[in-house]
C-alpha cells in the first residue's frame, strides 16, 4: 500500500531543486500532483467505508430482516424485529437498566472528575504525583480491574464485606443480589470514568490564562461563583467534550458487566449493549440484535439532546 503511494513522488520531488541561476523558475509554485492527495486519502477512506459506514448502514437494514448467522439469504421481516424486541420483558428490563446505569454514572463521574481536577490543580508541590495517581484508573485494563473488583466485592472474604463486618454491618451480596448488582457495576464505572473526565478537565483548566485568575482575584470573585460564572463558561468546549465521552462510556459499558455479573442475577445488570450481544451471539438472532443496537443509537441521541438542553440551560 505504501509503495504505491510513494512511487510517483521521488520524480516530482527531486526534479525542481532550487539551483543557482534559475531561482525565479524554482520559486514559481509548481503544480503538484493532484493524484497524490487522493491516494493519501484512499486507504483511510477504504477502511472507514468498509468497517464503519457500510456496517452502520447494514445494521440499520438488518434490523428489518431475519438474518441467519452462518450467512445465506436475508428474509424481509418488516417491523417484527422491533415489535419482538420491545415486547420482550428482558429487553425492557435492559433498557431500564441502561437508563439507571447512565443516571448513576454520567453525572457523578463528571462532577467527581471536575472536582478532582480543581483539587489536583490547587496543589503546589507534589502535583505530578497526585495527578499520576488519579490518572491511573483510566489506563488500567478493564477486564483485569473487573476481576479485582469482583474480588473486592465478593460475598465471602471480599474486602468491602470484611470492612462492613468490622463496622458491625452484615455482609451484602453485592454482585449476587439483583438489588445491588447494577449499583456495584456502576461504582466501578464511576471509578474508571471519573479519572478520564478528570484528565480532560485538567487539560481544559490549563488553557485558562493566568490573567483571568488575576482579574477575578482583583474583582473579588472567588470559589463557587468563579467556577460557575468564569471557569466553566470559558471551558465550555471541554465540558461538552467530557460530557460526550462520559455518555459514550456509560452506554457502552461492557467489559465490567461481562466479567463481573454477565448481566445477572436475573437480568438485573443487563444493559442494552450486553442484551444485544446476547441476542446476537448467544441466541443467534441477528435481526433482533441489530434492531436493539439501533434502539441504542436512538437512546444515545436522546441522551445527547437532553444533555444539550441541560447544558445550554445551565450556563444562562
Amino acid at each position: 500500500m505504501t509503495t504505491t503511494t510513494t512511487q510517483p513522488q521521488p520524480r516530482t520531488a527531486a526534479a525542481p531543486r532550487p539551483g543557482g541561476p534559475e531561482t525565479a523558475a524554482a520559486r514559481k509554485p509548481r503544480g503538484r500532483s493532484r493524484l497524490v492527495p487522493v491516494i493519501f486519502l484512499l486507504p483511510a477512506g477504504l477502511g472507514i467505508t468498509v468497517f464503519v459506514i457500510a456496517p452502520a448502514l447494514l445494521s440499520l437494514v438488518a434490523s428489518f430482516f431475519k438474518v441467519p448467522l452462518a450467512g445465506g439469504r436475508w428474509q424481509w421481516a418488516g417491523l417484527s424485529n422491533f415489535t419482538r424486541v420491545l415486547g420482550d420483558p428482558a429487553v425492557l428490563q435492559s433498557i431500564g437498566n441502561t437508563l439507571a446505569y447512565s443516571a448513576m454514572t454520567i453525572v457523578p463521574s463528571l462532577v467527581i472528575g471536575l472536582s478532582l481536577a480543581l483539587l489536583a490543580n490547587s496543589v503546589g508541590r507534589g502535583r505530578p504525583l497526585v495527578r499520576t495517581a488519579l490518572f491511573l484508573p483510566m489506563t488500567a485494563n478493564l477486564v483485569a480491574m473487573a476481576v479485582v473488583f469482583r474480588w473486592l466485592f465478593a460475598f465471602q472474604g471480599g474486602f468491602v464485606n470484611q470492612l462492613l463486618g468490622i463496622a458491625g454491618i452484615g455482609a451484602v451480596n453485592w454482585l449476587g443480589d439483583p438489588n445491588t448488582s447494577l449499583l456495584t457495576v456502576a461504582l466501578v464505572g464511576v471509578w474508571r470514568s471519573a479519572s478520564f473526565s478528570m484528565m480532560i478537565f485538567f487539560a481544559g483548566l490549563a488553557t485558562i490564562p493566568g490573567t483571568i485568575h488575576e482579574a477575578t482575584k482583583a474583582e473579588g470573585i472567588r470559589g463557587y461563583t468563579k467556577l460557575t460564572r468564569v471557569i466553566l463558561p470559558m471551558m465550555k468546549p471541554t465540558v461538552v467534550f467530557a460530557t460526550v465521552l462520559a455518555v459514550l462510556s456509560s452506554v457502552q459499558a461492557f467489559d465490567t458487566i461481562n466479567v463481573m455479573t454477565q448481566g445477572g442475577p436475573q437480568g438485573s445488570s443487563e444493559t442494552l449493549l450486553t442484551m444485544s450481544w446476547k441476542l446476537g451471539f448467544s441466541y443467534f438472532d441477528l435481526g433482533a440484535a441489530s434492531a436493539l443496537s439501533f434502539l441504542l443509537l436512538v437512546v444515545l441521541v436522546g441522551i445527547g439532546l437532553v444533555q444539550r438542553r441541560l447544558l445550554s440551560g445551565g450556563s444562562k
Binding site: M1, T5, Q9, T12, A13, A15, R27, P29, R30, R32, S33, V36, F40, L41, P43, A44, G47, I48, F51, V52, I53, P55, A56, L58, S59, A62, V67, L69, G71, V123, T132, L134, T139, A140, N141, V143, A144, M145, V147, V148, W151, L152, A154, Q156, G157, Q162, L163, M199, F202, A203, A206, V251, F254, D255, N258, S276, S290, S293, L296, L297
Partner: protein
C-alpha cells in the same frame, strides 16, 4: 481559616488518591498472598507471607505467555496500519486544498459518533463470511484505520503554519516529501500520543477478541484472563489477581513513561506540573 481549608483539601486529596489506587494495591496484595490464606487474611494491609508462586500459576494456567505474544502482535499490527492510513489522510484534510475535503472531514467526524456496537454485528458477519474469524487478520483488519486518529492528527497538523507549507512547496517538495520531511516531524508529539492511545485501546480491548478469537491459541491477554476467571479457577483469587497484575502492568508502565506527552497530545494543550 486558611489552615482549615488547606487541611480539608489535603484530606480530600488523600481520600481521592486512596480510592483511585486501592484496587491496584489490593490486586498486588492478593497476588502476593499464599492462595490458601486469602480468605482468612482479613483486611490486614500486608499479606501474612509472600508467595510468588501465584504469578507462575497464573502465567501457566491462563496461558499468559502465549496471550501476551498474541496481544503484542495484534496491537502493533493495528498501530502500524492506523499510522499508515491516518497520517496521510490527516495531512490532506489539514493542509491540502482540494474539492471534497470538507465532505471527507464531515464523514470522519460523523464516524466518530457511531458507537462501536452499531457496527459490531455486520462487521462480524462480514469477517465471518470472509473466512477470517479466528485469525489474526480478523482481529486486526476492522481497526485498520481510526476516525479518531485522523481527526486528532488533523487537529495537530492544522497548527502548522501555512507559510511553512508554502516554503516546502516553493522548494519543490512534493506531497510525499512535504509530509515526510516537514509535517511528520512537527506533528510528532501528536502522533506519539495517538500511538499510545491506540496501543491502550487495543491491548485492553475485550469485546472484539471475545467474538473473533475462538481458539485459545489466539486469545489476547484480557480474553485469556476472562477465560481463566470463568474456568474452574474461579476462587483462586491469588492467581486471578496475579494474572490481572500481569495483564495490567504493560499499559500502566507505558502510561507512566508517556504520561505527559499523552495527556498533552490527547487534549491539545500543555498540562502544568
Amino acid at each position: 481559616m486558611i489552615h482549615i481549608v488547606r487541611s480539608l483539601r489535603w484530606t480530600l486529596i488523600a481520600l481521592a488518591v486512596s480510592i483511585s489506587l486501592f484496587p491496584f494495591y489490593w490486586m498486588l496484595r492478593t497476588a502476593l498472598a499464599p492462595a490458601d490464606q486469602v480468605f482468612f487474611n482479613g483486611i490486614s494491609p500486608l499479606p501474612s507471607s509472600i508467595d510468588w508462586s501465584n504469578f507462575a500459576r497464573a502465567w501457566e494456567k491462563a496461558h499468559l505467555g502465549n496471550a501476551i505474544v498474541d496481544g503484542l502482535v495484534m496491537t502493533l499490527s493495528i498501530l502500524v496500519l492506523q499510522l499508515v492510513t491516518c497520517i496521510p489522510a490527516a495531512y490532506v484534510l489539514a493542509k491540502v486544498k482540494m474539492r471534497g475535503s470538507g465532505f471527507a472531514l464531515a464523514v470522519v467526524i460523523g464516524c466518530l459518533l457511531v458507537p462501536a456496537q452499531v457496527t459490531l454485528i455486520p462487521t462480524f458477519i462480514g469477517i465471518n463470511a470472509a473466512g477470517l474469524a479466528n485469525s489474526l487478520p480478523g482481529l486486526v483488519l476492522p481497526f485498520m484505520t481510526s476516525a479518531f486518529g485522523i481527526f486528532l492528527l488533523r487537529q495537530q497538523m492544522m497548527s502548522i503554519p501555512d507559510s511553512l507549507m508554502e516554503a516546502a512547496r516553493t522548494d519543490g517538495l512534493g506531497h510525499f516529501r512535504t509530509l515526510w520531511n516537514v509535517v511528520i516531524p512537527i506533528a510528532g508529539p501528536g502522533i506519539a500520543a495517538f500511538s499510545v492511545f491506540s496501543v491502550f485501546t487495543h491491548w485492553n480491548d475485550y469485546m472484539w477478541p471475545l467474538l473473533i478469537a475462538r481458539s485459545p491459541s489466539l486469545a489476547t491477554p484480557p480474553l485469556s484472563l476472562a477465560i481463566f476467571q470463568q474456568g474452574d479457577i474461579g476462587f483462586d483469587y491469588s492467581a486471578l489477581a496475579a494474572g490481572a497484575a500481569i495483564v495490567t502492568a504493560p499499559v500502566v508502565i507505558l502510561f507512566l513513561v508517556a504520561q505527559k506527552r499523552f495527556v498533552q497530545g490527547m487534549s491539545g494543550s500543555e498540562i502544568p506540573g
